[in-house]
């Protein structure tokens, strides 16, 4: 089951489709604090966009602007080409926000029923409950639920109106691995049905596993944007460690090598893609040994992006 979920390839960016949500050169100030600085982004129908960044980067602010819960100080926020506050647009939008307290004396099913009634064409209650994995606990009071179960109720409230545009602000926070995978599966299904999904996360592997496009944001500015593969490639995606007689300068000159240095009697090579470099290393040095390839992963990519000032020039 899990393997099946993992094997669903993220669909290619749907460049031709219309934008469901758009920030156009948006700046947002809270008093003297600039939460967003000239940010432009777009989520298209059928696309999953991950907005990735550390706490305080401006991710939630971006979501609030697109939900019409806040107005930009400059620039424009629009959904379906119009005002996010327009009820007709809100009927096509669902949101899972970070909330400190949800009324605890309503049952799971009652919460879902109430929110479903707000929308013109909601999903059947049973379908919403099943999608969020709540069927067996639908009679429970919200206050009796575990943290992960509470998150799933909030997810149910976000999808119950069968929205065309879905915002998920740190949706998998506090979920265990299995619950997270269930949620990912649901999010992918929604995108396959043509829904536009914007998710914010600081789980970097989540953005990698789910998104068609990733937008890296830090201190209110977009510092990188691209497919997960591009983002990883942009910042030394693989690290090869080996023992070889080849000189550092020779390795550095090889195609695909971003950086190489010695570490004791081994050599550490940074590269976007490991395989071509490995082929070349093996071809040139038949006695190469102790080869170890590690993924830099999005974590490192992210760190490199947020720490590297030169990343700014690329957006």
């Amino acid at each position: 089951m899990l393997a099946e979920i993992e094997s669903i390839p993220p669909s290619a960016p749907q460049t031709g489709r219309p934008a469901a949500a758009r920030l156009n050169d948006v700046t947002k100030n809270f008093g003297p604090v600039r939460a967003l600085n000239h940010v432009s982004l777009e989520v298209r129908q059928g696309e999953i966009l991950a907005v990735l960044g550390p706490n305080g980067a401006g991710k939630t602010t971006a979501v609030n602007l697109l939900l019409g819960l806040a107005a930009p100080s400059a620039g424009e926020a629009s959904v379906f080409g119009g005002d996010p506050r327009n009820p007709a647009n809100r009927m096509r939008t669902g949101a899972m926000l970070q909330v400190a307290r949800v009324p605890e004396t309503l049952r799971v099913r009652e919460h879902v029923e109430l929110f479903s009634s707000y929308y013109p064409k909601p999903l059947p209650i049973a379908e919403t409950l099943a999608a969020a994995g709540l069927t067996t606990i639908q009679k429970r009071m919200f206050g009796e639920l575990s943290g992960g179960q509470k998150q799933r109720v909030l997810f149910a409230l976000a999808i119950c109106g069968d929205p065309d545009l879905l915002f998920l602000d740190e949706a998998t926070l506090g979920l265990d691995v299995e619950a997270r995978r269930l949620l990912w599966q649901q999010i992918r299904k929604l995108a396959e049905r043509g829904k536009a999904v914007l998710l914010t996360t600081h789980y970097l592997h989540e953005a990698d596993a789910l998104a068609d496009r990733i937008l890296v944001i830090n201190k209110g500015e977009i510092i990188a944007e691209g497919t997960p593969a591009e983002i990883k490639a942009r910042s030394a995606g693989r690290q090869i460690r080996c023992r070889t007689d080849l000189s550092i300068s020779e390795i550095r000159a090889m195609e695909g090598v971003l950086e190489a240095k010695t570490d004791g009697d081994t050599v550490v090579i940074q590269t976007a893609v490991a395989e071509p470099v490995l082929h070349e290393l093996l071809r040139r040095d038949a006695y190469i040994s102790e080869i170890e390839v590690t993924s830099a992963g999005l974590e490192e990519a992210f760190l490199a992006l947020t720490n590297n000032p030169s990343a700014h020039e690329s957006h």
Partner: protein
């Protein structure tokens, strides 16, 4: 972008569905509070307890203002109960939902904002009715209460309609108080106001000073209308008291609006 969109008009959904939303929102708001012992327990229990203690047990069968003590206190303790139910539901409820993000979640949905406030008001009215019914039952069964059907209906209607003023006061508190301080602030307003408005001890028995300030206190006015409904002597005309209650409601809504705009300014500025 910042201008309110024209599509905010009523044509967004058919009337039948709008009414269904108002109904469901009210139903679940009621269930939510009914299942909350801190709320339903204390708002119903306190007036009942006071009435049993002062209206029934300590009552030596004397008359007061041309009615029995148990009838007099029926009117004033019901007013006291209605005030508490409304101030807590609206004040503490709104303060918590506003500060802890739930109101944001609701605002992001197509729920009409008026439905949210409508539901809270209807629920305050429902709890007001429960409190009046409880006191009436106790008074009829165990007290020396003699009221005509008309008087009974008049008392209940007066208190249910009068609860609106306390809803607006609660709304004003809810927009300015924090989630943890709101219940304390409500208590600080509710208890002294009840006392000074003659809801615990008849106005005539209070020091002269209180009779001077009472006209500036909303519960005094509702208490007087409630007293006249049960046939007790009251000061001033009912019309004047209703006007005063309406004025307090307008002032409270004005204060709430300032808080609402301050909130929006934080988010929307």
């Amino acid at each position: 972008m910042n201008s309110t969109a024209s599509a905010f008009g009523p044509s967004v959904r058919p009337l039948r569905r709008t009414l269904a939303i108002y109904g469901k929102e009210s139903k679940y708001e009621f269930l939510k509070l009914l299942r909350l012992p801190v709320y339903s327990g204390s708002t119903i229990l306190f007036p009942v307890m006071f009435y049993v203690l002062f209206g029934l047990m300590m009552n030596r069968g004397e008359g007061l203002s041309s009615v029995s003590v148990s009838t007099y206190l029926m009117a004033t303790f019901s007013t006291f109960g209605v005030m508490g139910a409304s101030l807590f539901a609206f004040g503490a409820g709104l303060a918590g939902e506003r500060a802890l993000g739930w109101l944001q979640v609701k605002r992001a949905t197509p729920l009409p904002p008026t439905a949210y406030f409508f539901a809270k008001t209807v629920v305050c009215m429902a709890f007001s009715l429960i409190i009046v019914a409880a006191l009436l039952t106790l008074g009829f069964l165990f007290g020396n209460v003699h009221m005509t059907m008309l008087q009974t209906v008049k008392l209940a209607a007066t208190l249910v309609v009068g609860s609106i003023t306390f809803c607006t006061m609660g709304m004003a508190i809810g927009y300015f108080a924090g989630p943890t301080s709101a219940p304390a602030i409500v208590n600080m307003i509710y208890l002294p106001l009840s006392f000074a408005s003659g809801l615990w001890i008849p106005m005539q028995a209070l020091p002269h000073f209180f009779q001077k300030i009472a006209p500036f206190l909303p519960p005094f006015h509702l208490g007087q209308i409630a007293l006249s409904a049960v046939g007790a002597e009251s000061t001033g005309s009912n019309l004047m008291h209703w006007e005063a209650l309406a004025a307090f409601a307008v002032i409270s809504l004005g204060i709430a609006r300032i808080g609402y705009q301050r909130d929006e300014g934080k988010m929307y500025g």
